[in-house]
């Protein structure tokens, strides 16, 4: 098993606040690594730090053996690392179609086929194909954000809380899409919905107060009620 992404002892400040105080984890190729923890633990900041959006003041991020810690965001993205932020980061001034096209790295047959498949999962997007992103509902925006991330054949996909604010039926669709993506793409997932995380995740990293406190396989976490109770408040 090859390690695709390795974050080691990440420290990140946002303004004067020391958010990440030693986050370490690794994502193995072909697996879904889930970052878990309470609200404010530092999961979202970890993804942003990997993407160079909130650069680390200390520590390293290695992708395929190359350090990317200090690279600008657009260069990191061009290494075929996709990112779905938690705030439904679509472009409100662009139509659904334009949002998809902006996200495409290339417009070849494979990508268009993939687009067809994604649209079959999220038919609402097809319905509003020529509508501005501004006119979509919260759930539709999240669907679009997910669809945009799935459009490219990426090597690594960082997804921040894809189930946030979505109806259960849409979560099912998102799960289906992620399961399909998992076949070709390594995923790092931040998810509060433990049920969803446990279904799709292969490994977990527990983050608490900006530090990695536990890592292991998802089976181990499912079997460990104490760990779930202490760090996730479950049970």
């Amino acid at each position: 098993m090859t390690t695709l992404l390795k974050a080691e002892n990440l420290h990140t400040y946002i303004g004067q606040y020391h958010i990440l105080q030693g986050v370490s984890f690794a994502a193995t190729q072909g697996e879904v690594s889930v970052l878990l923890g309470r609200n404010g633990a530092g999961k979202t900041t970890t993804l942003k730090t990997i993407m160079g959006l909130t650069p680390a003041s200390k520590g390293t991020v290695m992708f395929k053996g190359t350090e990317i810690t200090k690279k600008p965001t657009y260069e990191i993205s061009n290494l075929h690392i996709g990112y779905v932020p938690e705030d439904q980061a679509i472009f409100a001034g662009l139509t659904v179609e334009e949002n998809m096209r902006v996200a495409m790295r290339k417009e070849d047959d494979t990508t268009l086929e993939r687009q067809e498949y994604i649209l079959s999962l999220f038919p609402d997007l097809k319905k509003y194909w020529h509508k501005d992103g501004a006119f979509l509902s919260g759930g539709q925006k999240q669907m679009l954000a997910m669809a945009r991330a799935f459009i490219n054949e990426g090597e690594l996909l960082l997804i921040d809380e894809p189930s946030k604010g979505l109806a259960p039926i849409v979560i099912e669709k998102v799960m289906e899409a992620m399961t399909e993506m998992k076949k070709t793409t390594t995923i790092v997932l931040v998810e509060q919905n433990f049920l969803m995380a446990s279904k799709i995740g292969d490994t977990y990293t527990l983050i608490d107060d900006g530090k990695t406190v536990h890592t292991g396989t998802m089976e181990e976490l499912i079997a460990n009620d104490e760990l779930q109770h202490t760090y996730l408040g479950i049970g």
């Binding site: 600008p72 990112y83 980061a89 096209r101 902006v102 996200a103 020529h130």
Partner: protein, 318 residues
């Protein structure tokens, strides 16, 4: 959707045919000249819309590109035989210079936050204005100079049709530009640089390219403007030109491309008619006050500009 697009193109075709026929059905030389000025400022305003509406860049120095085109054409036509060849050559020289200047300024400053960029463009534009004033041997400073336009433009109607054709071509080219994948990225960058970077786009590249396109088109407007006057002085680089372009874009509708054309018509007609009223009603000698009132009313009742507000009501973007 297709029916709406067909409707748009039909309306556009009718307007163009009506404008093209206008000089042949009207004797009014004044109106022909006024419409020519509207077309020229519409080109300038569209160039500003590429910056403001599609890239989110506020520039207080757009007049420098207008001025570069104006001086390139005026100087070349003055120094050489005023033929159509030298006229086209002067347009190319103006566009090249404007492109180079906007590229350098963009590269140096578009990394800055928007208000710093705006102030920087104001400063650089001021430098160009001072340079034009001081280079008296070439520009004759504030006094300016007259020159002869190509014989082909001796007839005002010919020049009118030429400028109308330029407006149409520039409109179609800019429309292609803003509706291309590149244009979509521009809108994405304008909306959120961080998000577009996360998709792999280097914002500075797109901003600089947009700035170059806007500068080159503004230069063409400057070239046409001085030929319409057969005169140039440093006022072509004045802040008034930039503010007019800004007002035309805002009143017509930012990010609509058609809006600035309408804005140019509204502003030019308001300036012309309000100043004309002064001959009868002395109060209109202070026409700029009424002009200000029109602007305030437009912003209150059409916050997204005339075209932007209409499109919002119709619930569509183009």
């Amino acid at each position: 959707m297709i029916a709406k697009m067909r409707g748009n193109y039909l309306l556009l075709t009718i307007i163009i045919i009506a404008l093209a026929l206008f000089p042949f059905v009207s004797d009014s030389r004044t109106l022909t000249i006024l419409l020519t000025q509207i077309f020229i400022f519409a080109i300038l305003a569209m160039s500003y819309d590429v910056l403001l509406g599609y890239t989110g860049i506020v520039s207080f120095g757009h007049a420098m590109f207008f001025g570069i085109g104006a001086y390139a054409t005026a100087i070349i036509l003055k120094k050489t035989e005023p033929t159509m060849l030298s006229f086209f050559l002067s347009i190319i020289v103006g566009m090249l210079l404007a492109g180079i200047v906007s590229f350098i300024i963009g590269l140096l400053t578009l990394r800055l936050q928007s208000h710093f960029f705006a102030m920087f463009t104001l400063a650089v534009s001021g430098l160009f204005l001072v340079a034009a004033e001081k280079s008296r041997t070439l520009t004759q400073g504030n006094d300016g100079f007259t020159f002869r336009a190509p014989e082909f433009f001796a007839d005002r109607t010919t020049f009118y049709l030429f400028v109308l054709a330029c407006l149409l071509i520039i409109f179609l080219l800019l429309r292609l530009f803003v509706h291309s994948p590149f244009g979509s990225v521009l809108i994405a960058v304008k909306e959120n640089e961080t998000r577009s970077a996360a998709l792999g786009y280097k914002a500075i590249y797109y901003k600089v390219m947009s700035s170059v396109v806007a500068g080159v088109v503004a230069s063409l407007a400057g070239s046409l403007y001085v030929v319409s006057l057969r005169f140039v002085n440093t006022s072509v680089m004045g802040i008034d030109i930039t503010l007019n372009a800004l007002l035309m874009t805002i009143i017509g509708g930012v990010g609509t491309l058609v809006g600035p054309i309408l804005g140019a018509a509204i502003i030019q007609l308001a300036q012309h008619n309000l100043s004309n009223l002064a001959k009868t009603y002395p109060i209109f000698e202070r026409w700029i006050i009424f002009f200000g009132i029109i602007y305030i009313l437009a912003v209150i009742f059409f916050p997204k500009g005339v075209v932007g507000t209409i499109r919002e009501k119709l619930g569509r973007k183009s």
